[in-house]
């Protein structure tokens, strides 16, 4: 993975030189450790600004919504699935995109890394499978697999499902992972325990909507929480309104969520918002055999009706 940066720059410069795209969307190095910034490059000379490492957790598909331009876009497995979703939802046309596929071995959860050291991390270096974090008086090397984001740890679509360029050979897909283990744990709880679990989960929510806004699926011109005529949801910290936001947002993502984890990466409060969407992903998988964003040739289960759709859950 350490060679990806050079390859991304090379492809971006070529696409821009050949005039195949108006811009390339990728990441540039952030100003704080373990934080990269979504970035547009518009000239071959700017291509050197692009980088790739284990801190590219945001989903760049979020930056192409409704664009009229021709775009080169750096896409790991999940980003590519959201591009597929965007294409079938008419948010971008396939022929507007040159997808620069990045085989991915997972992104790092910086909260997990910070929890493993005492003191402020001021610099980070990484190899293919480890990251070394240093600060005042300490330096620690951590295996990447120990600090992966939880969605990455259970990801079975690490390679881009759709691409025009590839920055490296496909990586081996993970096998034997239980993608829905976390959901099963919650499903096994009693109703009261479930209630308490979710109450605790969102207890620190400040309703900044970073989860929603980092999500490529959340492109409604006006989100239901922002409607004021009528106002569906209150604006306060009233727990009813906070719950309503999280539950309804998750339902709006049913059958569309690729479990890219951008919501959790963006959340300033470290809330595991995937706990909501993941349950719906599991339902879609079990009821319809559906995982979002794997193919351009099928409509998502919730936007078609079939006479043999399962209906056992209707009581």
């Amino acid at each position: 993975m350490t060679g990806y940066t050079e390859k991304i720059r090379e492809i971006a410069a070529r696409l821009l030189t050949e005039g195949k795209v108006d811009r390339v969307i990728g990441f540039r190095k952030g100003t704080v450790p373990m934080m990269n910034q979504p970035h547009y490059v518009t000239s071959p000379a700017m291509a050197v600004e692009l980088i790739w490492d284990s801190h590219c957790g945001l989903n760049l598909a979020n930056y192409v919504t409704d664009s009229k331009e021709r775009i080169g876009i750096v896409a790991k497995g999940c980003d590519s699935r959201n591009l597929v979703t965007h294409i079938i939802e008419n948010k971008i046309k396939r022929d507007q995109l040159v997808i620069i596929g990045v085989p991915c071995t997972g992104m790092v959860d910086r909260n997990k890394v910070c929890a493993r050291v005492e003191g402020e991390i001021t610099s980070v270096e990484e190899t293919d499978d480890a990251i070394t974090v240093s600060g005042n008086g300490f330096s620690k090397t951590i295996a990447k697999t120990d600090v992966l984001r939880e969605n990455c740890a259970v990801c079975t679509h690490r390679n881009p499902v759709i691409h025009d360029e590839m920055v490296g050979e496909p990586v081996a897909e993970q096998t034997g992972v239980d993608a829905y283990a976390s959901v099963k744990k919650v499903e096994a709880l009693s109703p009261e325990e479930k209630w308490n679990y979710f109450e605790d989960l969102i207890s620190t929510c400040i309703r900044c909507y970073a989860c929603r806004n980092a999500c490529p699926l959340c492109y409604c011109p006006t989100c239901f929480v922002d409607e004021s005529r009528p106002q569906w949801v209150g604006k306060s910290q009233d727990p009813i309104d906070v719950r309503t936001f999280h539950l309804l947002r998750a339902y709006h993502c049913a059958g569309r969520c690729t479990d890219c984890g951008a919501c959790e990466t963006a959340c300033p409060m470290g809330i595991k918002v995937r706990e909501f969407t993941k349950k719906l992903n599991k339902d879609c998988f079990e009821l319809y055999g559906w995982e979002a964003g794997l193919t351009l040739d099928k409509r998502p289960p919730l936007d078609v009706y079939k006479t043999d759709d399962p209906d056992d859950f209707i009581r």
């Binding site: 100003t31 704080v32 990269n36 402020e120 806004n213 300033p268 409060m269």
Partner: protein, 357 residues
């Protein structure tokens, strides 16, 4: 300078005494992060933090504040009359607030407490509060307080400054309110000779830890429209997802939105923090929105903090250098780079570039 010495062993005793007369707030660890909370009978502030994730502004200015209740039932004598929600006006003590966050209170006061207008909810709570600061012996790499009007040992906005030194704290009372709080807590032992020199040298060492800075001397000289029309806003806003993180974690962002929520025949008028990052912030009742593009909203936030505020109050920037937005912005928009970019902006050079290209 009068200096008190507090043995860490007597901290609990003093705080317990304060709890009899004050609502006491302090940093506590909550799910791997620190936040300021009202301390219960058994709780003690945990000073092992660098700073809390959220700023302590909510102690005086909660995210949701109930202001009035009303009845819409014609049978009620007070139908359609706003009745103020009783406030907790007990004295408050905030123990362990960092100097950057403390400076935010007098800064915000310039907006909430003016000769023409007093925000009674904010002012009454603020006046009931005694701020006991904790000097930063080890500031973070994202801190830039020394160029934002204070420093790791800054005193503005504080009633007492605590300096942690091994098994003790030095406490410097800065106001009569602070002196009286120290007496209430029973912290009255004067520190011996040499304490003042020791604090001075600790402060100098802490200042050296500050590695980042902002400059805004040129911003003040520029015309508003020169900066408003600067060509860099769209580029700076590329990554912005228009969430409210920067505004909500900021100790100096003061904007709010007033909402009435009616349930049947009764209701409540409240205010909630609002964010200029949201399109809804500027949506007019007519349906018109003067700030529909995200770079316009990003520009607004930085122009407010770094230009409009500077021009209006002539008292520095509307930022205390706590670094929360730098650390927590999901897409790494960094106020330090933007402030310096605004400060270095030369509209003349920019015109030449356009002319020659």
């Amino acid at each position: 300078m009068k200096l008190i010495k507090i043995d860490k062993k007597s901290l609990k005793e003093g705080i317990d005494k304060l709890k009899r007369t004050h609502s006491v707030f302090g940093p506590v660890r909550e799910k791997d992060e620190f936040e300021f909370k009202a301390l219960g009978d058994a709780d003690m502030p945990d000073f092992s933090f660098s700073n809390t994730r959220m700023s302590p502004k909510a102690i005086v200015y909660p995210q949701t504040q109930l202001m009035f209740t009303y009845s819409l039932n014609d049978a009620d004598d007070d139908c359609r009359i706003l009745k103020e929600v009783p406030m907790d006006e007990r004295p408050r003590a905030v123990i362990g607030i960092r100097p950057c966050d403390a400076l935010a209170f007098p800064l915000v006061r310039r907006n909430f407490d003016t000769p023409e207008y007093q925000d009674t909810f904010w002012v009454r709570t603020y006046e009931a509060t005694t701020f006991v600061g904790l000097a930063c012996n080890e500031p973070c790499a994202t801190c830039f307080c020394t160029s934002a009007g204070t420093g790791p040992f800054g005193k503005e906005g504080l009633d007492v400054l605590l300096v942690e030194d091994g098994d003790d704290f030095f406490a410097e009372p800065l106001t009569p309110k602070g002196e009286s709080l120290l007496e209430t807590a029973g912290w009255t032992t004067e520190a011996g000779g040499g304490a003042e020199e020791k604090i001075t040298s600790m402060a100098a060492a802490a200042n050296e830890h500050i590695t980042s800075a902002v400059s805004f001397d040129n911003i003040k000289k520029r015309e508003i429209l020169e900066l408003y029309d600067a060509p860099f806003w769209e580029e700076e806003a590329i990554s912005c997802i228009n969430c409210g993180t920067c505004t909500y974690v900021c100790p100096t962002c003061w904007c709010f939105d007033i909402q009435d929520e009616t349930f049947g025949k009764s209701g409540v008028r409240m205010r909630n923090w609002d964010s200029c990052m949201s399109p809804l912030f500027t949506l007019h009742a007519s349906g018109h929105n003067p700030r529909t593009k995200k770079h316009e909203r990003v520009r607004q936030r930085f122009m407010h903090k770094l230009k409009y505020y500077v021009d209006k109050y002539d008292n520095g920037i509307q930022c205390v250098g706590c670094g929360r937005c730098v650390r927590l912005c999901p897409v790494n928009i960094d106020i330090r780079s933007i402030c310096n970019k605004m400060n270095n902006f030369d509209p003349e050079a920019c015109k030449c570039e356009v002319a020659s290209s």
